[in-house]
Structures are given as C-alpha cells and as structure tokens.
C-alpha cells in the first residue's frame, strides 16, 4: 500500500533533460568541481557530508593507531609524550566533531526530505554553506599540529587551566576551528528543524513521521540548545588566554571547576546528540528485516522526547571526583540512574520486535544487531559508572574509555554503517556486494571487541587514562587492545572498496530494495533516487503504525 507517486525521471536523465512539467527555466547545472562546490541539492550535499565524514573517520583513525602503536608495549618507543597527548586530543576531537556528527548530518540531509516527501531542505543555500564550513574548520584544526608548540594536547575535553594558562600557542586556532564547526552544526540544525516542521507532505502529521526523522528533530533541538553553550565556553577560554580575563584562572578570582560544569552541561546532551539518530536508524532497520512492526513505537517516540529534556540535568556524573559536596554527588547519582532506565530500556523494544518475527541477515541487519548487543554492553558499564562511590575507582581510567568507546564505536559508528548499507541501494541503485560486506562486518566486530573489551580490565586494574606509558601489569591488556585496533582500523578499508564497487556496479536494486516491509516514503522513489524527487508532493495515506 505504498503511496502512489507520478513516475520520476532517473538520475542521469533529470540532470540533463529539462524538468518535466515545470515552467521555470532550468540552466544546465555546472559540471565537475563547480557542481559539488555550488550544489544546493540535499542529495549531493548529503553525499558531500558522508564522504567528508569518512575521510575524517580515517584521519581520526590514524591518530588512534598512533596512540595504540605507542601503547603496544611498555616503554616509549615511537612518540614523545607531548606528541602522544596531541594524538589522543586530536583523535577525540576529529572523531566526535568531524566523523560522527557530520555522518549523521549527511544521513539526515539525504533521507529526511525523502522520508517526509519534501523536494529539498527548507534552506538549500544555507545547507551548502553549513557543509563547506566543515572542511575549513577541520583543515584549520589539523594545521595546528604543524604549528610551533604543537597542536592541542589537553584532551578532547580541554579542561582549564591546562587548556588556558598552560596551553600551546596554537590553542587560539583550536578555538576558532571549534567555533566554525559549531556554527556549521547550528546552521544544519536550523535547516533540519525548518524542513521537518514546515515541509512535510500534505496529510503527513508529526505523528506519521518515521522514527529516524523524529529522533533527528529531537537531536536538532538538542543541538540548538547546547552548541551555543559550547561556543560560550570556548569564547570564555579565548578571553582568558588572550584578553586577560580570569573566568577559569583561580589567580584572578575564576574557578577551573566552573569550566567543567559549563563543558559538561554541553557535553552530556552532546553524547545524546551522537546516539539518538542511531536509535532512529536501528528502529528503521530491525523491523524491516524482522518483517514485523517496531514494538512499542509510541514508547520510543515519547522516551526520545523525554531524553531531550532530562539529558540537561545529569552532567555532574562526569565530575564525581572533582570535590562536589555530598548533596551534589547524590543528586547527580540519582538523576543519572533515573534517566539511564528509560534510555536503556529502549533496547528491549528492539529485542521484542525480533521476537516471533521472520528475520533475515542482510548487511544492514547484521550491523543493527551488532549495535544492539554491543551498545547494551556500553549501557551496562554506564550503569556501573553511575554508582558514585564506585566511580571514585572508575573515574578517568580505561574502564571509562571502554564504556564510551562501546557506546560510540559499536554504537554510533555501527549505526551509521548500518544506515549506509540500508540506503546504499537507494543512493546508487545497486545492492552492496554481499561477500565483501560480510567480511567487513565480521572483521569489524572482532576488531572492536578485541580493542575495547580488554580496556575494561586494564581500567579496573588501575590504569589511568591518557598516559603514554604504563606499568607492567597492564602490558597484556594493551597488547590485545593495540592488536584489535589495527584489525578494526584496516578492516574499514573494505568498506571504502565496497562503496566504490557499489557506486560503479553490482546487483541492480528495485525501488523497494529491502522487500515490502520497508514502508517509508523513500522506498516509493525509484533507486537510484533521481536528483529531484517529490517536486510535486506525494499524497500520503496514513499507514497504521
């Protein structure tokens, strides 16, 4: 019962032939580099975001491999500690701000207009501008590595006073690049909110939107609320470093703990920004391949909305060891526990969707299943970290590193990969190569677990975070982690090969690439999706959810 849509010209024809049925003159679109530089088409900009995110994922990955190379064995073999600190910091910054967030924005740019039946984003030119801010921001950030005094070496959380009074001279460039990246995210969020609220196909109300669109709407609201706070913090840092104020400098009456409160007030909603779209993607994939409707769709919608509000009151659990009074510790412990339940429990919805379903294991489903299992492991270690007295032993150790990598790597990144495999037939018109994706999946799963599971033990045994060298009792865990890191790192090259093959050839994919259980609007458009879709908005009958 997919909604009936007038036949659309395919990609090749539409970019050359004049638009069918439209009066306005359509000058031939520019060719080559100019096409990508000036594009205002949400599909092309989505592709730009995804390619940028993949390149940054490899750059961040290289930094991680340098870190793991040094930590392969006790002793300083390859890099000096100053450079090691720059590598850990840049790895964090690139992965969070340049790989995961742009990847989700890319998927949003591609899929939101298609899923709500809109011809394009609400503000196409703003869309182009917010993409092209990113390469500028992160070339600037990467260039700080070559500046005298080296790049940022104070951790991706850039705590004062290490990041203000004792920071290398390149810190001002770091602040500028974060400002530009922040502005890009803010403009993207404005665009997405304006599109979702105003450009849905007639007949489609807020409640008929697919879960990916709903989670992205909530994420966009979080971005609007939190990115200005990050901008505020780095502006205060800039004034502390260059203009002699002392927001965070105890000497002038400031307070370094104020920095941590401000940073984590931004930081915790930021980690929800990185996981909610993943919830949306997985909630689209699992029902499709279980051939069964998502269990408790309403609960998912409401829980995601509640997270948007509750995620603002739990930032203190990042600061249990900073010396908060007892009332503060208890408040943040209770608040974190209360919010952990509605979030963690969403995993049961996916399991219930699979229960008594009819499950097949195409690549997107493989990654979605791996997401569910490993994200839950990350959720459990998160639950353990919420216990404040125990956090005195976990805080700033590799147990925390294991926690957030389990939630981010098999969490956000596997969800992005699952989204890519799921929508590649729609983007390219070909199915991803089955054999290659199997290899990519199993190598990634082995690599991820071999890398991050031993970190639980090295952390519990007492290995602190961000150290370039360690005592002998942590040697075996780090050996395994480094081995796993190289396996996981190089297995991502398979994904690149797979994308290239998929774009060029492979099994042709029909409009409804994954069977008739994928009922969202994007499957009503032919694959590969033509450059201009839904010029005339589709009539939308409300499928019972």
């Amino acid at each position: 019962m997919a909604p009936k849509v007038p036949p659309q010209p395919t990609l090749e024809q539409s970019s050359t032939a004049a638009e069918a049925g439209h009066g306005h003159a359509h000058h031939a679109p520019p060719k080559g580099i100019l096409r990508w530089l000036l594009t205002t088409n949400h599909k092309e900009i989505g592709t730009l975001y995804l390619i940028f995110s993949l390149t940054m994922f490899f750059i961040g990955g290289i930094f991680a491999l340098v870190v793991r190379l040094e930590l392969f064995q006790p002793g300083l073999q390859f890099v000096r500690p100053e450079f090691f600190n720059q590598m850990t910091t840049m790895h964090g910054l690139i992965m969070v701000f340049a790989a995961v967030m742009p990847a989700f924005t890319g998927l949003a740019n591609w899929m939101i207009p298609l899923q709500i039946g809109a011809p394009d984003m609400a503000l196409p030119r703003l869309n182009n501008f917010s993409f092209w801010l990113l390469p500028v921001a992160f070339c600037l950030l990467l260039s700080t590595l070559l500046m005298p005094g080296g790049g940022p070496n104070f951790g991706w959380t850039f705590y004062a006073p290490l990041s203000t009074t004792y920071a290398p001279p390149s810190t001002t460039f770091f602040i500028l690049s974060l400002h530009i990246a922040g502005i890009s995210s803010i403009l993207g969020a404005i665009n997405i909110i304006a599109t979702i609220l105003n450009m849905r196909a007639p007949g489609m109300r807020l409640m008929d939107m697919p879960l990916f669109v709903w989670t992205w709407l909530i994420t966009a609201f979080l971005l609007i609320a939190v990115m200005p706070v990050l901008a505020g913090v780095i502006t205060m840092m800039l004034m502390d470093i260059n203009f002699g104020t002392s927001f965070f400098n105890a000497a002038g009456g400031g307070d370094p703990v104020l920095f941590q409160h401000l940073f984590w007030f931004f930081g915790h909603p930021e980690v929800y920004i990185m996981i909610l779209p993943a919830f949306g993607i997985v909630s689209a994939i699992i029902p499709t391949f279980s051939r069964k409707r998502l269990f408790g769709y309403a609960s998912m919608v409401y829980a995601v909305a509640a997270i948007a509000i509750l995620s603002f009151v739990v930032w203190g659990h990042h600061m249990f060891a900073v010396g908060m009074p007892l009332v503060g510790q208890l408040f943040f412990m209770y608040a974190t526990m209360l919010i952990a339940v509605p979030t963690g429990v969403k995993v049961f919805n996916w399991v219930a969707t699979m229960f008594r379903g009819s499950i097949s294991f195409e690549p997107p489903m493989l990654f979605a299943l791996a997401f569910v299992v490993q994200f839950t492991i990350g959720g459990f270690s998160g639950l353990m970290l919420a216990i404040a007295p125990a956090d005195f032993q976990y805080h700033d150790t590799y147990f925390v590193v294991a926690h957030f990598h389990y939630v981010l790597v098999p969490g956000a990144i596997f969800a992005i990969l699952a989204g890519a495999y799921y929508w590649l037939p729609k983007w390219t018109g070909h199915y991803p190569n089955e054999r290659l994706s199997q290899w990519h999946f199993w190598l990634s799963v082995i690599g991820v677990n071999l890398t991050f599971f031993p970190m639980h033990f090295s952390g519990l045994a007492g290995m602190p975070r961000r150290i370039p060298d360690y005592a002998l009792q942590f040697a075996d865990f780090n050996l395994a982690s480094s081995l796993g890191a190289f396996i996981f790192g190089f297995s991502q090259l398979l994904f690149v090969a797979l994308i290239v093959l998929c774009v060029r050839g492979g099994k042709k994919a029909p409009a409804q690439a994954w069977g008739d259980y994928a009922t969202d609007l994007e499957w009503s458009v032919p694959s590969p999706a033509p450059l201009h879709t839904f010029e005339t908005p589709p009539t939308f009958e409300r499928p019972a959810h």
């Binding site: 705590y159 105890a250 900073v322 010396g323 007295p389």
Partner: protein, 372 residues
Amino acid sequence: MRTLLVWLAGGLTLVGSSQVALANGWNMPVGVSTLSGEIYGLHMTIFWICVVIGVVVFGVMFYSLFKFRHSRGAKASNFHENTTVEVIWTIVPLLILVGMAVPATATLQKIYDPSEAELDVMVTGQQWRWRYEYLGEDVSFISNLATPRAQINGEEARGEHYLLEVDEPLVLPVNRKVRFLFTSDDVMHAWWVPQLAVKQDAIPGFVNENWVEIQEPGIYRGQCAELCGVDHGFMPIVVHAVEEEEFDTWLAERKEAAAEEAMGIDREWEMDELMERGEGIYSSICASCHQPEGQGSPPAFPALAGNEQLISDKDWHVNKVINGVSGSAMPSFRNTLNPVELASVLTYTRNAWGNDTGEVVQPAEIAERLEE
C-alpha cells in the same frame, strides 16, 4: 537434555574462569582501607546485576534470531504493542537501581564523614610530581618518579615496579584516620591509589578534603588520574603503610633530620658536597624538562648548559629558581626545596656540563635571601 548439559557445562566454565580472572589483576582491587571493601562490594553487585540482565536480554535475542529465521519459514506475528510488558521491563530495572541507590548512598555518606582525624597530610600536585606536608609536624618532602629514564627509553631492562616507584614514599600509620587536603600549584591533577580507593582532584587555588584509614601495613601504588601535561603518566604515588609505633619513630626521625638540616644552613659547605647532592636533586626534579645533560628542549624548556645569561648573572639565576616564571611551566621552588637543597642544585647547575663558573652557592646565602 544433552544440549542442556552442554549449556550448563559452558556456563560453569565461563563463571569459573571469570572468578580466576577476577582474582588476579583483572578486577578492581578489594583494597586495604575501611571503605575500599564496601566500594568493591558495590562494584561487584552492580556487575552481577548487569550480567544477569545481559544474559536474559541476549538470551531472548539470540533465541529469536535462531528460532524465527526467515530462511526457516518463520511467519512474523502481528503484535507490536503491549504496554504492560513495557511497564514491567521499565519498573523492574528502576526498582533494581533504587535498590542499588540505598547502599551507594550509605557508602557515599561514609566517604564524606569529616569526623576527627589524628593526622592531617597536605598533598600538593605539581607539574609532574607530588609534595607531601605533614601539617603541624614541619616534615615535608617531594615524591618524584624513581624509574630511570634509561628504562623508559628501553635502553635498560624494566624493573618490577616500572613507573610505579618513587624516591620518597608517603609513609602513613595503620588503623589511624588520616585526613588529606588536596591542592595544586599549577594545573589540575588527581591523587589516586586503587588499594585505598581514594581519588580526589587537586585544583589550583582551591582545597579538597578526603580521608583514609588503612587496615593492613604494606606498599600501595597509584598514579595521577587527571591529564596534567607532558609527564602526566610519570608522576606516581607510593604509600608505605606501617604500624603505628614504626610511623611515630619515622616521623620523629624525619623531624629531627629536618631540624638538623635547618641547623646546617649557616655552616660553610664544600663545593663537592653541594655538587653531589645537587646532581641528585637535578636528575629527579629538573631533568624531566631541562633534560639530564642540561640541553633543555627550547623554546618550551630553555637550555641550562652553556646558558650565557645563567653563567653571567647569578642573581637572575637564583631568582628564577626561587620564584619561578609565572605563565610558564617553571614552578617556584620557594617552599618546595629547603635552602640546602636550593644551594646544591644552584651550585650544580652553575658548574656542570661545562658551565664551570667555580662559584659555590652557600645555603646561608639562600636562607638569607628567602628571609629578606
């Protein structure tokens, strides 16, 4: 029936091996302080709760994946909502967590109990070492990493306590409540000893309080747990917990040694006495930035060997060491080194690596300079 046995055997070996693993060095230490056992208990309770929930959730999931495979012709049923089930699987974890919150609150209240302590120790974090002051006892010393640089760079075999050994450990009495006051002279550090289950940030300009009561004598090792710059991984903590009488005698000895050192200030020291002592202090404190041969790594850490400014202007050199340079990594050693130590390291740096100015800096001169 057979599959059940296989599953049972598999489960038992898993639990057995995990017990063995958890025992030696894979898990949080049970610790030796009054509270570390409770914290370990909380950790293991929440761990086993998560394992049980995990087994149930993944069991249902893998069962469904196995049983309802499309390829085996499984037909999808049509239920997609059951609020009662959802309420149950939300309330149950909520109750479990509220159950966990009660003991956690109790333990946290004990951690925050500011009752009377018999011994107060001020712990000050500096860029890349710890300074301990026994308040009211006039005993204070710096605790530096004792692992030689050669071991770190792989030229020598690594010792048993590689990177977890210091030249002056913190000596504490057993069965006495010790109150810690944490602060920092430059950036944020965090003082953490896993066996004592104490971790507290040291924040410049502010003081944090914590306490410990050690129950077993022994040597307990820890590290800085907050990124603080280049040598964050090279500022370990070693606590020697000794019997109470042994501690009292040690403290008396140290007090007397400090007093005697203070006495020795006004006598005339020999050049080689100061040079030999100065070399020890230089290698443990100054070498990490100015490098063992004094070549430094400019522009961040200036070279001392053949430094014209240093050789020609002794007053400038003394001022730099005593008052440090604000806004740079050079701390003030005014009240971290006593006059004898200051005189030794100044004499050493003015006469080592070819700087031979021939001048001897006398402790009396430094003491008078400090008292100005």
